[in-house]
């Protein structure tokens, strides 16, 4: 093949697409991010909080939105549909239909006047139709691109040819009422599909009264009600009369696990957790005691931190969990409440009243999406999702096209983000020869040396159309700024962010020899980087800028008090000038990155990570404690999809062994790790031989193991075995298995116990696969599964269904009333209380299989070596539960596999590839720049007390151990994140945060 095209098209701008785009663009590929809506963000942008930590969704997402929006190598194509894809891997032609926005992206300044004056009100679909917006709209306040659009289906002008008010009022002349749809073809080397999902529409389920009563709503509607930027400003009230609810009910599995009513047999995997989250948040929002009840079949809290969240919701927050089937929801006219009829396990029907009933709707692919996928040559799974292979978890059936997020099966945000990394890794690996061929690298001109120059401040005040200028007396502020000390140039601009103003600023810096710049405009959050670039382009150190927010934090919030807004703008400009006078140029250190990786652990995750890195062109050293590669997978029989693991594992090991870029160290242990991101130096010992490895990044894939049970006669009767032992017997083809008359599985052995509260995630599906296998060996065999909660999430639900069809008997037990096992020479006797019959039952069994917990190794030394944290359960703690699930807060160290949390093979491989993708982002840059905003020590003043060392969460400060200044603190700028905590806590005033030092802050206070 000739050189592949070094560009990737990502179809869908939700969180998965965003993450894939960033990984690729940051590792040397051009990215086209195609989105059907007017802005990227997807469903995550609609969410109020995210489970299990209840982090604010927008807070954690918006930095990524901004990064995508500003990325020089990502083109966002909104309002665009993909019609077809021609060609082959390395050279695809993607045919696009680009619908008109009717607003010029270059000119729109998002002032919102068009929407303010637009006469047409329409349902706001972003807010689930709970409120209205205008036909001229921006999807949500933090949208990227933050540009308005005209709703073609609703706009009066576009439908009837009359109106056009928006064009008249737009101060930027951005409205394009006659814009037409265009066709476009893009050439890319690979494609990633991340079109997401739609929430199940429960309108067809009339017995729930959805659509018939406004207080019966979907979980997504309730999410908007909870949101601070939602229709009710985050105030909890029911839509019918805007009164605060006293009782709320959640109905689980609406549109999931229900072949009869909705055709979706699968479990949507996220609804249990989001219902718990919503119940807890609703209680927090409510001003009076709120009763929250969740009606469910099985609580599926199988993810990291989920079980804790479930337990806390029940025990601490008092959320009521009812394993009841809801038969009907009927509005009652007299009381104005909703009567809910439900059926308990005992068969008793009860009716209760609620103020709000929330239908926890599942995730599904629409028929159009399925058709679209198939049209692109992507095969689908039984549930209508893209079909993937367990060992290649993001590759579709068409070579060169990858998939991530909910289109590859219902899943939560971290799993989507992990798949995004995996898909990005695979797409990038296909195009290595085309890396950096289509990307641009900003050239940095040489910097002017301003040392010794007296401060010459230039102040630029922005009108932002009428956004600032309509409230604040901008010329007045400009003239006032001219009177401030050391200010030698002032100007006001209509749009400071426009390209021509940027050019003007550059020219004025040159012309007036300005060496400090103050820009008073919108928000530094969105625009400071732009002006920093302008400074750099004009040869000025980019840290010599102070940004004043006179729009979001002045003109927009003091609209009714123009005089006071003007006075405040003057105050803020004066404060900024005081600070800018005290700024000095800051340097960013340039570090080269050793282009090699070390992978700790040679199981499936470790091998997948090493292979992924090798495919990207980077050598990897695998350090494995055992005498063979393969880890836990060596003991496993089948995946949930029924693939024989042994053969696939053999291929994987052969691939690793044949790879010239991968070196494997068996029976090895790490004895020493020095250095930091880009330049680690690790010592690996095999017997008495020590090898020193230089590597730029490290991937922790150190795994976990099956625990050995202490109950149910395990170890005392050989008829009691663990799940892995059964797998080994099945692998060996043990003929005795077919002769069993009765086999019993007990679930949650050692998991979900007070001393080990987490769910081991894989055991339910694993036991059911084994149960089905036993039934296949001998259909006459009686097979029982004693469980507490069946957690066959996603399409694994099909296994549960099939097992019941094949006659596997499922009996639920409570943790307080565990099964009792006794042994006679003839059989094991297993006593359990049947949940349906509510009667004790004794099962004589030939074999008892215990689904024992997965436990981490608790490798404290490894944690110490790489300065990475471990949680109470002994699993490593990722940088961010939601959006950074395969990296550590320590730069350059990544995480995957069982060391992170129990997970099946497909998820382990996806995470390994995602970790490799994140590592590739670093390695592909070859060098890294530290931030200039870091702490610095004045050694003359430092007393060496060590408070900074003990305080810093990033381990940036340390005490010098050598030389004449031994005992004094030093800051490693590579590790310093610039928070300033150490600075504010330094006893001797020896520390300063550059860019926010005491002089600068005090200067602002004095000037305030």
């Amino acid at each position: 093949m000739s050189q592949p095209i070094g560009a990737v098209l990502v179809a869908g701008g939700g969180i998965a697409g965003i993450q894939a785009a960033l990984d690729l663009a940051n590792s040397g590929y051009k990215v086209f991010l195609v989105e059907q809506q007017a802005a990227i963000g997807g469903v995550m942008a609609m969410l109020d909080k995210t489970f299990p930590t209840n982090d604010c969704a927008m807070c954690i997402m918006s930095p990524k939105l901004v990064e995508v929006g500003r990325h020089a190598n990502i083109d966002i194509l909104t309002l665009t549909d993909i019609e077809s894809i021609d060609g082959v891997k390395g050279d695809f032609k993607v045919n696009l239909r680009r619908r008109p926005r009717y607003v010029d992206l270059e000119k729109c300044i998002a002032c919102g006047l068009c929407a303010a004056k637009c006469p047409k009100k329409v349902d706001d679909r972003f807010n689930q139709g709970l409120i209205q917006r205008k036909a001229a709209y921006v999807l949500y306040p933090q949208a990227v691109p933050l540009k308005y659009a005209l709703d073609a289906e609703q706009c009066i002008f576009l439908r009837k040819g009359k109106c056009g008010v928006c064009a008249k009022v737009c101060p930027a002349g951005a409205i394009r009422l006659h814009e037409r749809e265009i066709r476009q073809t893009l050439r890319v080397g690979a494609v990633i599909l991340s079109p997401g999902y739609r929430a199940y529409n429960p309108a067809g389920l009339d017995y729930f009264s959805y659509g018939a009563h406004p207080d019966v709503m979907t979980s997504l509607e309730f999410e908007r009600i909870l949101s601070a930027s939602g229709p009710y400003g985050g105030h909890l009230m029911r839509p019918s009369d805007r009164r605060a609810p006293k009782r709320i009910a959640w109905l689980q599995c609406v549109g999931s696990r229900d072949q009869n009513h909705c055709g979706n047999f699968y479990c949507s995997a996220v609804c249990c957790m989001y219902a718990i989250k919503q119940a807890v948040i609703a209680k927090e929002h409510s001003e009076h005691p709120l009763e929250c009840t969740i009606f469910y079949m099985d609580m599926r809290t199988h993810g990291k931190g989920f079980e804790d969240c479930f337990n806390e919701a029940r025990d601490k927050h008092g959320v009521r969990f009812m394993r009841h089937r809801v038969q009907a929801v009927r509005p009652e006219k007299e009381s104005g409440r909703l009567a809910l009829r439900h059926l308990g396990e005992s068969g008793k029907v009860q009716t209760e009243h609620f103020d709000i009933v929330i239908l926890s709707v599942g995730l599904e692919t629409s028929p159009e999406l399925r058709q679209w996928g198939q049209g692109l040559g992507v095969e689908l799974s039984p549930g209508g999702f893209a079909r993937i292979d367990d060992f290649n978890p993001t590759a579709t059936s068409r070579d060169g096209i990858y998939v991530c997020g909910a289109f590859a099966g219902p899943k939560d945000i971290p799993q989507s983000v992990i798949e995004a990394g995996s898909a990005a890794l695979c797409a990038g690996a296909d195009l290595v020869a085309g890396r950096h061929t289509l990307t641009v690298r900003a050239a940095t001109p040489s910097e002017r040396d301003t040392r010794g120059e007296p401060p010459r401040v230039g102040v630029f005040i922005c009108h932002c159309g009428i956004n600032i200028g309509g409230v604040v007396d901008v010329p007045g502020v400009r003239d006032y700024a001219g009177t401030l000390p050391n200010v030698v140039y002032v100007a006001d601009n209509m749009y400071s962010c426009s390209q021509d103003t940027q050019n003007t600023i550059s020219a004025k810096i040159e012309e007036h020899r300005l060496n400090r710049i103050v820009v008073a405009a919108c928000s530094p959050k969105t625009h400071e980087p732009l002006f920093q670039e302008t400074l750099a382009a004009a040869g000025l150190n980019k840290y010599l800028l102070e940004f004043v927010n006179i729009r979001n934090q002045d003109s927009w919030v003091h609209m009714n008090e123009p005089e006071r807004a003007t006075a405040k703008a003057k105050d803020l400009v004066r404060m900024a000038v005081a600070k800018v006078l005290r700024l000095s140029p800051l340097s960013e250190e340039l570090l080269t990155i050793a282009p090699a990786a070390m992978v700790v652990g040679g199981g499936v995750s470790g091998m997948a990570a090493a292979l992924a890195l090798s495919r990207q062109g980077y050598p990897a050293e695998i350090v494995e404690r055992d005498s063979a590669l393969g880890g836990q997978a060596r003991h496993l029989h089948q995946t949930a999809k029924g693939d024989a693991i042994e053969a696939r594992l053999g291929q994987l090991i052969a691939q690793v062994q044949a790879d010239p870029r991968i070196r494997v160290h068996l029976n090895a242990r790490l004895t020493k790790v020095e250095g930091f991101v880009g330049n680690f130096k690790s010592t690996v010992a095999v017997g008495a031989t020590e090898t020193v490895i230089d590597h730029g990044v490290a991937v922790i894939a150190s795994g976990a193991q099956e625990s050995l049970p202490s109950e149910y006669l395990f170890g005392r009767d050989e008829r009691v075995i663990t799940g892995l032992e059964l797998d080994q017997r099945m692998k060996r083809g043990d003929r005795r298995l077919a002769r069993l008359r009765t086999a019993v599985f007990i679930q949650c052995v050692g998991s979900r116990e007070p001393e080990r509260p987490y769910c081991s995630r894989v055991c339910c599906a694993h036991s059911i696969v084994a149960a089905l296998h036993l039934k296949e060996l001998n259909p006459e065999m009686a097979v029982f599964v004693l469980y507490r909660e069946i957690r066959t999430y996603g399409e694994r639900e099909a296994l549960y269904r099939r097992a019941r069809e094949k006659g596997v008997i499922f009996i639920r037990y409570e943790r307080e009333r565990k099964p009792r096992v006794s042994a006679t020479p003839e059989a094991l006797e297993i006593g359990v209380v049947d949940h349906a019959l509510r009667r004790p039952l004794t099962i004589p069994a030939d074999l008892l299989i215990l689904a024992s917990a997965i436990v981490p190794y608790r490798d404290e030394q490894l944690a110490q070596f790489f300065k990475v944290p471990m949680n109470a359960d002994g699993f490593f703690v990722e940088a961010h539960v939601k959006l950074n699930p395969c990296a550590f807060a320590t730069d350059g160290v990544f995480l995957c596999g069982l060391a992170h949390y129990p997970k099946p093979i497909d998820e382990s491989i996806a995470q390994a590839q995602a970790a490799a993708s994140a590592a590739t982002v670093l390695l592909a840059q070859r060098t890294i720049r530290t931030s200039g905003t870091t702490a610095r020590v004045d050694l003359r003043v430092c007393s060496g007390c060590g408070v900074c060392v003990s305080l810093c969460p990033y381990k940036a400060p340390s005490l010098k151990t050598q030389g004449p200044l031994a005992g004094k603190a030093e800051i490693n700028p590579v590790l310093c994140k610039g928070c300033g905590l150490c600075v504010a806590s330094c006893r001797s005033g020896a520390l300063q945060l550059q860019g926010f030092d005491d002089g600068q802050i005090m200067g602002m206070i004095e000037a305030a």
């Binding site: 930027s229 530094p524 729009r551 979001n552 803020l572 005090m1002």
Partner: protein, 163 residues
């Protein structure tokens, strides 16, 4: 002199807002066009952990009638624990002010997420109303040096306790 007798008193209030949450919430309040009194002026810091007790005292010394620190929700600090450490600093400053006869409520700490634009506006409104009710800062500017000295002492004691 009580607050109601101070004619035309417009409190001067300084707010230290962390970049990731409070400042962003301030931006959102703007995007949502919420109104709050113009008395509050914001100084952005990377994290509330950067805020020193002396910054708060300096603000009072320089004539601010009220000062507050606004950071991420507890447990959600972008820099892990900066806001928790600062909560203690704010408490220490309040204590020091009380000791020299200044209302400790002139210095406050708030926590909010970046999505809480309405809360940002509410805080600014609340704080302005509270300071307006208290009236102008009672301290002649120069006298605060005494407070600073006391504060330094407290800080030393604090440091010992912390160990």
């Amino acid at each position: 002199m009580t607050a109601s007798t101070v004619k035309g008193f417009e409190p001067q209030i300084l707010a230290f807002c962390c970049k990731y949450c409070a400042y962003a919430a301030g931006d959102l309040a703007g995007s949502m066009r919420l109104n709050y009194p113009a008395n509050v002026k914001i100084i952005q810091v990377p994290c509330t952990g950067r805020v020193d007790m002396l910054h708060l005292l300096k603000a009072i010394e320089e004539g601010a009638d009220g000062v507050y620190v606004a950071g991420c929700l507890e447990g959600e600090c972008h820099f892990l624990e900066g806001n928790l450490k600062t909560r203690r600093k704010v408490a220490a400053v309040q204590k020091a002010l009380a000791e020299i006869g200044i209302e400790p409520e002139r210095v406050r700490m708030f926590n909010l997420s970046s999505a809480m634009g309405p809360r940002f506006a509410e805080i600014a409104t609340e704080m302005t109303a509270a300071i307006r009710a208290l009236g102008p800062s009672p301290i002649p500017r120069a006298n605060l040096c005494a407070a600073v000295a006391i504060e330094e002492e407290n800080r030393a004691i604090d440091a010992v306790e912390e160990r």
